[in-house]
């Protein structure tokens, strides 16, 4: 595609030089370093007392003081995507550079493709460097070299995370196309983020309570209630992502979530099968999640693409 490389280069240069990116990166790097450090210390303390398999992955999943890295990315990763994208189109429109760009011999979609791609590359670089820093720190602190399977799991986790943040980037670009003012699109992006991080979970339990109001008395409807919460909560990309990555990065998890409390007999039988899942099986468990995550990302980008292509130039 003609012009794609030119715009891509320029976007990347802009991003890397921007204060916004430096601040974001510093913040995320700091949090991940601290988390990994605390976990590393903790792992060292329990050395000898228990020898869990896949010690290395604990660096990513074990909450240090507050949250694990995986939780952190699930919660704040969206902010990175939103901040990278919320003014991508409307800033150019307000500064009058968009119509200049479009008056050059390039197709219109090259502009939006390049912007999205630049964001994705940036997110990839960011996550990769964080993961590498944690891995390095882990090697020093724990003194255990990760096995091939652990590396694969981390890599898959990385890919899923990039897709997940790319979804938020796509949403932010959509807002930057629809809203003329950068402040409005920033607010809209934030609103969507807040909605999905808090309200969907609350909404899900409220909905489940109304649909299964006799959950206290009837075990069947209690089960139904759990099922309902499980499905409604998946409307949130955050939940989708957490579930998808939890199983990939933690081989001891067999399903995406714990279901009903087990009876004593079941609990005993569960402990007999407490070995780790092989990688392929872990992925199989969350395949629907991964596919949905890719799907919503693609849909989000396709929507921005369509809106952008159909916009009348006069209003640019």
């Amino acid at each position: 595609m003609k012009g794609l490389a030119a715009i891509l280069n320029k976007e990347l240069a802009d991003h890397f030089a921007s204060h916004r990116f430096v601040i974001l990166f510093a913040l995320i790097a700091m949090v991940s370093l601290i988390t990994a450090y605390m976990v590393g210390i903790k792992i060292r303390e329990v050395e000898g007392q228990l020898k869990p398999q896949f010690v290395f992955l604990l660096l990513f999943t074990e909450p240090g003081a507050m949250f694990s890295l995986v939780q952190f990315v699930a919660f704040f990763g969206p902010l990175v995507g939103l901040i990278l994208g919320f003014d991508s189109i409307n800033r150019e429109r307000n500064e009058g550079t968009l119509s200049k760009l479009l008056a050059q011999p390039i197709y219109r979609d090259v502009v939006i493709n390049a912007k999205f791609l630049a964001g994705v590359i940036l997110i990839g670089v960011m996550l990769l460097s964080i993961v590498l820093v944690i891995t390095g720190l882990g090697l020093v602190l724990v003194g255990i070299v990760p096995g091939a399977e652990e590396i694969w799991r981390i890599f898959i986790y990385l890919v899923i995370s990039v897709v997940y943040i790319a979804f938020w980037l796509g949403a932010a670009i959509l807002f930057s196309i629809v809203f003329r003012s950068t402040a409005t699109s920033a607010l809209a992006s934030l609103a969507v983020w807040i909605f999905f991080s808090f309200f969907v979970t609350i909404g899900a339990s409220i909905l489940a309570n109304t649909l299964a109001s006799d959950a206290e008395l009837n075990p069947q409807s209690a089960a139904r209630k759990v099922e309902w919460v499980k499905y409604v909560v998946l409307a949130s990309p955050m939940e989708l992502y957490s579930e998808a990555t939890a199983t990939v990065i933690d081989p001891l998890r067999k399903s995406t979530r714990s279901t009903l409390p087990l009876g004593p007999m079941e609990a005993i039988s569960m402990t007999r099968f407490s070995g780790p899942l092989p990688l392929a099986q872990s992925i199989l468990v969350v395949m629907p999640h991964i596919i949905s995550l890719i799907a919503i990302t693609v849909i989000c980008f396709a929507l921005s693409y369509t809106v952008f292509m159909r916009q009348e130039i006069r209003s640019l």
């Binding site: 003609k2 500064e95 009058g96 119509s99 008056a103 011999p105």
Partner: protein, 251 residues
Amino acid sequence: MMPAPVVVTEDLTKIYRHQVAVDHLSFTVNEGEIFGFLGPNGAGKTTTLLMLLGLTEPTSGRARILDIDPAREPIKVKAKVGYLQENMGFYSDLTARQMLRFVADLNGIGRREAEARIDRALTEVGLADEDPPKKIAAFSRGMRQRLGIAELLIKDARVAFLDEPTLGLDPDATQRITDLIRRLAREQRMTILLSSHQLHQVQKICNRVGIMIRGRMVANGPIDQLAREKFGVDREEFTLEEIYMKYFLEG
């Protein structure tokens, strides 16, 4: 030898929702000509330029630029046409050279060729002697307009659409821009459509003017011819401003 027609429109029409912006517009601009494209705000001048660039589709009618249909092959047209819009935007944290390099990249011009063209263009518009190079954010309005013209030189445009190139410039800067425009037409045989409200300048540099009112072209021809048509006397006694007002009040 007759000069070749470069911009040709036939019954070009654009309707936005229920409003007619451009109404059966037909005109021709020949190679190397500077055509003054006049009219009150909202007369449809910018819409016409956008249609000629292939940035918006005509509702009906046809346009051809250098024998290419902008509605069908906008990319080809945009490779040969430069557009200097009103309130032109620049990436303000780039330098002039970086900006021109970006334009060269977008036009698919190779590295070495691009650098040679950039040197030539910067000298031509008088922006070469910046050391250390300033960012565009620090440029004056006149410098920005000259940078805009340098962009036309980089892509080696055969046709240029200039929308208010001298708006808000001081007399000296205005002089430089009008000189540049004249040189482009004379030396590079660039065909220029100049849309402006500064009729004094238009009168000085345009070979021919067209006056557009409410989407229609009500007058089209050399200034003295329009004067004769409206007042029955030669151009010397009437400025373009008076001719324009006469058309405007009748329209």
